[in-house]
Point group: C2
Chain length 225, copies 2
């Protein structure tokens, strides 16, 4: 067998099974038998199951991080210090996200993995991702901050995560939603179609009026310093 073909086969199989059933529900025997490699190969090449999981993420996030940095470089160069409009930033991120897994035609897998990482138990994966790729996201959120100067920092933080939830939930649960949608409306749903529907919703959500102050909670206000 060719050099390290085994590594690729393990990763290809593992990411699909992880996305389908989660990490704990996927055994190394599941992976190695479906990938037709030796059981010991995982521990030989990756060291442990946990390291395998991180390698699966790295294979998506490394190229994403690199491309997104480049895309932001290009944007900043084009706008020459002027603020980049929110729509352009969101569009750029969407494009990059769609580009990366396109080669393996597995955006759904990518999104399910992200959702799993977020909802993971002790969050050791979230910490790994934050530590490894935090700078790209910081750079992005800083640009979003300049694009929405009227939005209080806390409000922007929450709305970005609201929209992150929308995207991850929708694209990671794509199969389930597709089932329901096609049963109810007899229509095909493509990822591009979904992204098209998402765009105005996300923009409108980010630009929504600020919440009413009057039903603010009466607890001791924490003064920022």
């Amino acid at each position: 067998m060719a050099q390290s073909d085994t590594v690729t086969r393990i990763l290809d199989t593992a990411e699909v099974l992880f996305a389908e059933r989660g990490f704990a529900e996927t055994s190394l025997r599941n992976i190695t038998s479906k990938a037709r490699v030796n059981l010991a190969a995982v521990n030989y090449h990756f060291g442990s199951k946990k390291a395998l999981i991180q390698a699966v993420f790295a294979r998506y996030l490394d190229p994403f991080s690199e491309r997104f940095h480049s895309a932001l470089d290009a944007l900043e160069a084009r706008y020459e210090g002027r603020d980049i409009p929110l729509e352009v930033l969101l569009e750029t991120m969407a494009t990059t996200v769609l580009e990366v897994p396109a080669e393996r035609n597995s955006l759904k897998v990518f999104m399910r993995l992200l959702g799993l990482a977020y909802s993971q138990a002790q969050g050791h994966l979230r910490r790994y991702i934050q530590h490894e790729y935090g700078d790209v996201f910081s750079r992005f959120t800083e640009l979003v901050r300049r694009a929405t100067p009227d939005l209080p920092d806390a409000e922007r933080f929450w709305r970005l995560h609201f929209m992150l939830g929308t995207v991850i939930f929708t694209l990671s649960g794509l199969d389930a939603l597709r089932d329901i949608a096609e049963k109810d409306y007899h229509q095909q749903v493509s990822v591009r179609d979904l992204v098209r529907r998402l765009r105005p919703v996300v923009v409108a959500a980010m630009n929504a009026p600020l919440p009413d102050e009057k039903d603010m909670e009466p607890h001791a206000d924490t003064v920022a310093h």
Copy 2:
């Protein structure tokens, strides 16, 4: 020990552990030892682990379904056949959702369980919920349909699920987001505060302009020049 106190203790412990670590990662020995109950008690009272999981859901969804039906009854009576405004419908659902787990102070647990059910592997839980509580949701979506007559059916379907994703993702990942938010902004975040922030975002998202028809085609050029 009092009659069936064991059942309650099992359910109380199981829902917390399930929400924290997922179903597969929570063993019956975890549950029974933390609940200070005999290991065999789960199989004695519920029959199997799968039945336990469904019982955990039923304890939330039974009262929710009943209260939500009542709330919708009251709304329909008050509006006497006139369409109920979207804001009122959303507010009613939010109120009911907040009411149910309030007694146990565990909205987060409720939301995490819902999120787990959605993202579950083979979706046997989703099917169980759909089969058991589908009528309430159908009733709600029908009222939403009348409240948004200008929205195409497919568009409304997707936007409702977009917002479902927002709410489930936010409230189920509350601890993680709270960590980040408090580290970045040194502010306390309560559930009521989050719901207050969610309201205008959800309304704006539902009322967003329809997606552009022009980038419906094979592939639109994405990034602005």
